[in-house]
Amino acid sequence: MEAAILLQQVANGLVIGSIYAMVALGLTLIFGILHIGNFAHGQLYMLGAFATYWLVSLWGWNIWSSMFVAMGLTALLGMVLERIAFRPVRSAPHINGLIVALGLFIALENIAFILWGGDERTLPSPYATKMITLLSISLTIQRLLVFAVSILLIFLLYLFIQKTKMGKAIRAVAQDPEVARLMGIPIHRVSSTVFAVSSALAAAAGAMVGPIFCVFPSMGLIPILKAFVVIVLGGMGSIPGAIFGGFILGVAESLGAGYISSEYKDAFAFAALILVLMVRPTGLFGKE
């Protein structure tokens, strides 16, 4: 029985962790390029979820196609935001970027509230209620899909970063913007690409959790906070850091809540982070 519960808790953690990882990846990419703590990322997650919701519920599309369209739309929005809001402050102190992001966060959330009201909507999904149980772990298919999709997307992102020309450019800029510029890498194009990619990731995460959790304007806050914890835990700008950080955080939370105290569930994430940073001030995978 105990072992079964442990397995179940770990599984719960991994599912949530995969969501954290998806959001955190985009965040860490953006930080690598612009050194901005992009809070607005959480709202792209929210908007992605809403876009999917409307496509599914208004036009009765199936969840996958609507997810892809939502990713596209959100990617566009991400590029627009980068152009009008973040590019102007890239030379300013980083804290300005943070405030800009906060401003966007507030604005977007309330726009969503005005447009769609504050109440929770459930994204209809064929997989939402079907349960499957293997070796005493029971999860809904949707949760398994969340896990699978995030793994897939993470893998695709990895290929993109490692194999493509743009990916190389991104890494170069993250390494050293000045040198990259001298090498003739179009910094602006790189940064807007990064915004597009990470926004799409966020949207995917939103779309995938829509059926499990609900879709509502303030849904972006908790994930973005956790994502920040994740990327700092993993080391700023480090992609493996974001991935592993996400899963570690998810499992740690679920075990903490499951075995120590659910009253302090959210405290565990942050306490864990502090402990890690005391040992490794630049996170698990961060470079000194």
Binding site: M1, I5, Q8, Q9, N12, G13, V15, I16, N110, F113, G117, G118, D119, E120, R121, T122, A128, T129, M131, S138, T140, V209, I212, F213, C214, F216, S218, M219, L221, I222, E253, S254, L255, A257, G258, S261, S262, E263, K265, D266
Partner: protein, 402 residues
């Protein structure tokens, strides 16, 4: 840089110029108008903006109701009722600011602030400001502070939760209950009252788990509860998480376990969660959802047509507060003297109930602490897609609560 300087010069001048003159009420003054102003202090922004939206709509409809009847009749002459909205941003300090704002505009009666912490904050001031306000917080402690100018037209948690415990233990005779509640004051009160009463009625609470407000994943807690295999799961907290909670509870605990929602849960959420999932879920409902008066139906319909959304208990209670207090004004013959209005409130409520105009669920005059004496509370269970009444009370004595 010069461009920036230009911009910010204009910016700041505009700002400071605005600071001096923009809000007409910046300087001390008392408003004199034909209509009677009635304050609404709502959480239009901030974490609880969802409630504020319902308050706003509910009170708006109430005001229209009154004005259709020609407005408020003070000493023979009729005045239109004008609502004055104040956004308290879900911040206690803001709520107090709102109270003062009202007092200065000569508004001595208002609906809200409704949220427990905001109510706590304003009851330190409203007596000295002579502002009477209605509050649908269901936390009994708010009213036990002995404030003379707070009125509650909503059910009291002790009742609804108590009745839920009673029904679970006595009607369905379940013995092992588990709790999953949020860490807000509301959730903690739910935990307290359910545990207390469930024990009293012969059951036992075998496990309590918590979640932070706005959480969306309850798997860890539920997995932990499953190990204790309870017969029923009571989840408190606001309706916000209801849908997710019900669904995940079913996913982990299975269909057998009876789910008990706290007050403010309704058919709407059960539908959202999906009826087959919500099967075998019990919810304590207040009058608005069980007494099927014409007033209720018209309110419900108007709300639907106007705001394209289902009315909720919050809106209904706020609506009642407006009706109630303005009727009390008529009886007292004043819209300024809050204490006179308070004296008249008892009679006002009885009259309104006699007319069947109240829809929030609290009726029959009210207790010295400002709470209504009588509620319509029923516990209903969802069986084959229909809500089925298990138990309904209008009086504490019936089931030996106090």
């Amino acid at each position: 840089m010069s461009k920036a300087k230009q911009t910010c010069f204009y910016f700041c001048w505009a700002f400071f110029f605005g600071l001096i003159c923009s809000p007409a009420d910046l300087l001390a003054q008392t408003s004199a108008g034909k209509g009677i102003k009635f304050g609404v202090s709502a959480t239009l922004t901030g974490p609880a903006s969802y409630l504020g939206w319902h308050d706003k709509n509910g009170t708006t409809l109430a005001a229209e109701e009154i004005n259709e009847r020609g407005g408020i009749n003070l000493k023979g002459e009729k005045h239109k009722l004008e609502l004055e909205f104040f956004d308290n941003e879900t911040k206690p300090a803001k709520a107090v600011e709102g109270m003062r704002m009202f007092a200065e505009k000569g508004i001595h009666a208002c609906a809200g602030p409704q949220l427990t912490p905001l109510a706590y904050a304003v009851i330190k001031f409203n007596e000295e400001l002579k502002v009477i306000f209605g509050c649908y917080s269901t936390t009994p402690e708010v009213f036990e502070q002995g404030n003379k100018l707070i009125l509650s037209a909503t059910m009291n948690q002790k009742w609804s939760i108590g009745l839920a415990a009673y029904t679970a233990a006595k009607v369905l005779n379940l013995k092992k209950a588990a709790l999953l509640v949020d860490t807000t004051g509301y959730g903690r009160a739910v935990e307290k009252h359910f545990t207390m009463n469930f024990k009293k009625f012969g059951g036992e609470v075998i496990a309590v788990e918590w979640y932070e407000l706005k959480s969306t994943d309850f798997y860890p807690q539920l997995t932990r509860l499953k190990a204790k295999n309870p017969e029923t799961l009571m989840f408190g907290g606001m309706s916000a998480e209801a849908v997710i909670l019900i669904r995940q509870s079913r996913e982990i605990l299975g269909k057998k376990v009876l789910l008990i929602g706290s007050d403010y849960f309704k058919m709407e959420q059960l539908k959202k969660a999906g009826l087959e999932v919500s099967e075998n879920t019990m919810i304590p409902l207040s009058g608005f959802h069980i007494i099927d008066s014409p007033a209720r139906q018209s309110f419900y319909k108007k709300f639907q047509d106007r705001f394209r959304a289902e009315a909720e208990t919050y809106g209904a209670c706020a609506h009642d507060e407006v009706l109630w207090i303005s009727r009390a004004m008529e009886i007292a013959g004043t819209n300024i003297d809050a204490f006179k209005i308070r004296e008249a409130a008892d009679q006002a409520m009885r009259e309104l109930e006699a007319k069947g105009l109240l829809i929030g669920g609290a009726h029959g005059g009210f207790l010295p602490n400002g709470q209504a004496k009588k509620y319509y509370i029923g516990t209903n269970i969802l069986r084959d897609g229909k809500l089925e009444r298990l138990k309904m009370i209008t009086d504490l004595k019936e089931i030996g609560l106090e």
